[in-house]
């Protein structure tokens, strides 16, 4: 609930929440991957 409220996803429809969370997860995982490759 804190995640939904602070990112304002609380107001969105389920598919929009899923879309945004997937995007966020994709960004963080590529960042992690790049950091590993780089390091």
């Amino acid at each position: 609930l804190q995640y939904l409220l602070n990112t304002a996803l609380y107001m969105l429809e389920p598919w929009e929440r899923l879309l945004f969370s997937t995007l966020l997860f994709a960004i963080l995982s590529t960042a992690l991957y790049s950091a590993l490759v780089f390091l």
Partner: protein, 130 residues
């Protein structure tokens, strides 16, 4: 745009954009900075100098409808804090991008062109010019 935390958020959004680009494995740092600068300047130009009116119903009987976002800031008063901040960001991004691309000519020209696109319409002389 005068509210507390908006400028900081603006800077955070620019860095999040850069962070996203940087985390794509095949993009080098210089390309990431040039892409960051270019995307920022194009969005900045579209948002502040193309879109007109306000995204909500205003109580000014539609007066704002003819003005771009940039012209509506601080009721049109020039050289306010917010305007200076929005004027400086593209220039700072240009310097950072030039530095990280080691002043490569191609990158330099791309960054310069988009920086001018974002900075020139903000001059007071272009206020209300169509």
């Amino acid at each position: 745009l005068n509210s507390r935390g908006v400028w900081l958020t603006y800077i955070i959004l620019v860095f999040v954009l850069h962070f996203i680009l940087l985390s794509i494995p095949y993009i080098t740092t210089s390309v990431a900075w040039t892409l960051t600068t270019t995307i920022h300047n194009l969005c900045n130009y579209y948002l502040f100098h193309v879109v007109k009116g306000a995204p909500w119903e205003t109580s000014d009987q539609g007066r704002a409808r003819r003005f771009t976002f940039w012209e509506q800031i601080d009721d049109g008063v020039q050289w306010t804090g917010t305007r200076k901040f929005l004027q400086i960001v593209p220039v700072v991004l240009f310097f950072i991008a030039s530095f990280y691309t080691k002043y490569d000519k191609t990158h330099f020209l791309i960054n310069l062109a988009t920086m001018l696109l974002a900075v020139v319409p903000k001059f007071p002389i272009f206020f209300g010019v169509r």
